[in-house]
Symmetry: C2
Subunit: 113 residues, 2 copies
Amino acid sequence: MALPHAAPAQPIDVAPLGAALATTPTSALFKAGGLEVMRLVLPAGKSLPPHKVDGEITLHCIEGELELTVQRDGAEQRQRLQAGQLCYLEGGVVHAVSGVIDASALVTIVLRR
Amino acid sequence: MALPHAAPAQPIDVAPLGAALATTPTSALFKAGGLEVMRLVLPAGKSLPPHKVDGEITLHCIEGELELTVQRDGAEQRQRLQAGQLCYLEGGVVHAVSGVIDASALVTIVLRR
């Protein structure tokens, strides 16, 4: 993480990356008390493997298209998320995310303490 | 609130409202455990008066332009937020928000329990 995290009330640019997506890594934007936000960059065909976090999360697709795979009651539920769409997951739910079209997304995580 | 809240993993459209902004009210998108997300609609000149919440918040300007006024150490700090910009505030910070240009924004609130 080369850049310092943002301070409170400081504007952070989260507009689509466009051509810069291919050379932009996933990065943490800030962590503050009970909340963490990162910008996830997933080129087409790249994935985050199945994982879970304790707190609730939102996934907001900023550009491109993502596929979210949720494991619930022993079954897999797949959901596409396009630019301009957001969804949430409860805490503790195992999920994976992959890029269908070169994508970036805001991931907001509630931190359990 | 006429519409039911979204379910987990269900895509919610949060793209710019465009011409529909003038006739779209602020609405809750979901509340889940420790997290609440709403879409705030603030036409130019309209304001949310100073208020605070216990948990951290993010304010993500989806379209238009907002002015965020934060009260900190007895002084007011003003910050413009344009479409594609996001900022956060710690819990308990008194803040007001007004529309500079017809605006909508996602407001994410960590719920303290």
